[in-house]
Symmetry: C2
Subunit: 199 residues, 2 copies
């Protein structure tokens, strides 16, 4: 056996991401990883160096996927504000058994590691910022398309938008009644739509 087999590595990373996302960095043990990746300790270390590095790779994966999905949604959206509102409603619409029905992995990571693992926290912070920049860009697009007034503070709106997502996802994490979550998402989505100026 000589090929690194990209597919196998990808599958393993996906599994690692899932366990880490579920249990968090500190609560995930090597035993957990061995079970999830179906790999013995030696193989894990040969492939991913150590636990922290594996976590960082999982974070990369999560970040790439999140950003890509958002961009895809925005590309298909009839208007920037419509896309943003849709993004919020999308979280509430996730099927009940969806593994993503929980708090954002970046948020969770920061809560978990800010005061204990500076390296992980720093990278995560950077990722959260880049996602917020994507939100800012989306609001800028809304402005360019005349949906928002020229004096709208896009960075400020982006921060609020990110906060709305965190709030919805935290409720998903809690297992709050789907109706209540839909109501919350609806509130936030309408706030976005209410920004639209008549043209």
């Amino acid at each position: 056996m000589s090929r690194p087999t990209q597919y196998q590595r990808d599958t393993a990373l996906e599994a690692a991401m899932q366990v880490f996302w579920q249990k968090g960095y500190h609560a995930t043990s090597l035993k957990d990883l061995e079970a999830a990746l179906e790999m013995k300790p030696g193989s894990i270390y040969a492939a991913f160096s150590n636990k922290e590095n594996l976590y960082l790779l999982s974070l990369d994966r999560y970040f790439d996927r999140s950003l890509t999905r958002f961009q895809a949604l925005m590309d298909d959206a009839p208007s920037a504000l419509a896309g943003l509102a849709d993004h919020l409603r999308g979280f509430a619409k996730m099927p009940p058994q969806d593994h993503a029905r929980q708090v954002c992995m970046l948020t969770k990571t920061l809560v978990d590691t800010t005061n204990t693992d500076p390296e992980i926290a720093a990278r995560t912070k950077a990722y959260l910022e880049r996602i917020r920049e994507a939100f800012t860009a989306a609001f800028e697009r809304a402005k360019a398309e005349g949906e928002l007034p020229p004096d709208a503070d896009c960075a400020r709106l982006a921060r609020r938008f990110q906060a709305s997502i965190s709030a919805i996802r935290f409720e998903l994490h809690l297992g709050t009644d789907p109706e209540d979550i839909t109501a919350l998402a609806e509130d936030f989505a309408r706030e976005i739509e209410a920004l639209r100026q008549d043209t």
Copy 2:
């Protein structure tokens, strides 16, 4: 030495709450607790049974304090909505070195323990609910005092209010620029004030 010395126990619990709040349940080791409480392992176990129990006691303490402070603020408020808006602005106004400049301990606990320690998570969920109930009651008071229209959905407003707090505190946790945090809190506070109907 025969007295349990309520004062000493209280001091120890306060210290425990602080470490746990800072590092989280899983990342806090007994060594950390020994250092923080200035107690040897034997004494800790004699006084608090075990780590989980000590954590639960810390949670109790945190919850009691949070609720009490909110109630005190509401009692002094000129009106219910004013008190609620003030509560939001208060987080942004916390001094830079304040140890409470971080995510809510209940939120952190749920992120940290939902998929690993059901007992802790359950109690924490109950506490968060009770706090939200206090928020609901505050909105009800606003309604009774004519600040809100009779058909206002107080439970829904309370959930959004709680979400706003989480968002602000998460930014505190991240160490976001104080100006940006003030702006975010201001946005949320004005949303509350905008609910006021003219009487």
